[in-house]
Symmetry: C2
Subunit: 295 residues, 2 copies
Amino acid sequence: MEGEEKVFIIGLGLIGGSLALDFRKQNEQAVFFGIDTDENHVKEALERGIIDRQADWKQVSEADWVVLAIPVDKAVDVLPEVLDRINENTVVLDVGSTKEQICKVVENHPKRRNFIATHPIAGTEFSGPSAAFEGLFEGKTNIICEIEKTAFGIQEKALQLFKKIKMRIRYMDPKAHDKHIAYVSHLSHISSFMLGKTVIAEEQNERDIFDMAGSGFESTVRLAKSSPAMWAPIFEQNKTMVLKSLSEYIENLNHFKTLLETDDYDSVYAEMEQTNRIKEILKGIHLKKELSYGE
Amino acid sequence: MEGEEKVFIIGLGLIGGSLALDFRKQNEQAVFFGIDTDENHVKEALERGIIDRQADWKQVSEADWVVLAIPVDKAVDVLPEVLDRINENTVVLDVGSTKEQICKVVENHPKRRNFIATHPIAGTEFSGPSAAFEGLFEGKTNIICEIEKTAFGIQEKALQLFKKIKMRIRYMDPKAHDKHIAYVSHLSHISSFMLGKTVIAEEQNERDIFDMAGSGFESTVRLAKSSPAMWAPIFEQNKTMVLKSLSEYIENLNHFKTLLETDDYDSVYAEMEQTNRIKEILKGIHLKKELSYGE
């Protein structure tokens, strides 16, 4: 980013807000414009210095950058409208957790080459501009889909910026992205939400149950704090793969239940021992991420 | 703790080791003796200053304190033997995650009054003396069962020590403990282990899937690093309540799956929104814990 660029952030939540904060560090002369359907978010983003000005749709034609950071059901409607309005040098990027439908919806758009489809694997269970913070993306993976459909000049600008905020870049086709992310992200959210539901239901009969909760429960149930407005559309757009991973999860739980019912504790032990491999796998990821910083 | 007391730690893992480190800070004159079936654990505990000496069973008769921190299936065998050997002033405590069977197994023991059944709700996903650290128990809850069956002098000594290491004390009967803990702890471990299993199985077909994992997945799958030697016996001892909570969890997952299959995203949204309550619940716990420090 260079000079007095105009950056439009559409959706002033955790991701949009944090990207604005990080981008601003790369170009202090840039002016940040915000658009959000929630007026309180606009106000808060102005107060926190995430954006400099509230913008309206007409101004999008002046943008050098447009970041689309809204729920995935809204993004598929808004992206074509953004592309309709921009000039030929504008970089448009989305950051949604599903990539197949958003790529599909603009595949024949005359400005397709201005768009770069990204999924920064970063976030917390909190939402809104108050949850945004600098440095959220450092060392995190950004998955970019259909890079070959983005114009070379646009690719270059976007990739430079992602590298400056220290993200690792991975390329993937949208279908493979949506399939894999169902396992390593979407399923975790369902498992966490339903765990929370199960324990809350029990608490209605038994008071003070949460007084007994330790850090293990908190860790497993953390994602159940996530925003339904963000997650319901993700499950809808990725329905097939989410259902596949969820069915396999339920099958594994049922199998474990049968082992307990039949007092087969050797197999219970073996199931857990085999899954302990996750330790090395997670260690391996951290190592890989450290090694590939700024590559 | 006062003077040159002899403290026997049976089981030099995360909990036994961390308790030793915290107890030592309360009485630097005390001498710590360690017993563990794993010679490497004894060696490591000596090297880390967790214990001063390795002990054998015969010496237990000299103990002022005995801490039983071994898997719950071993604890029900070892506790009566410990009680057989101790003198009338020895404080014996266990720290297991199930309380019904251990209380049951010594209910008629002539030295029952020397025993205090405790469950410190503290730990990490790591195990062994290398995982032990000072301060693990600060601000954590310790659930004590059947306090009325412990001699007054023994109660007093143990409670003073727990307060000194800044634990909150809660009293509960063993049956209620085992029921509630199934929901807020044991179930989380199963949900995490089976999530890990599901994703590992998918990875066998699809390489690099873990490269896409973010902090959400890590948080939900963290407990799948836990020790099978510790957890298989817990599931066995608490089979009935674990199965009850697991069945309810599977039922909730199946319901969520049906909502997705029938494209009922309004209900998907509502399920998540209702479960978002967990935010306030968890905040409430932290507040309560802060307020009751050292009470």
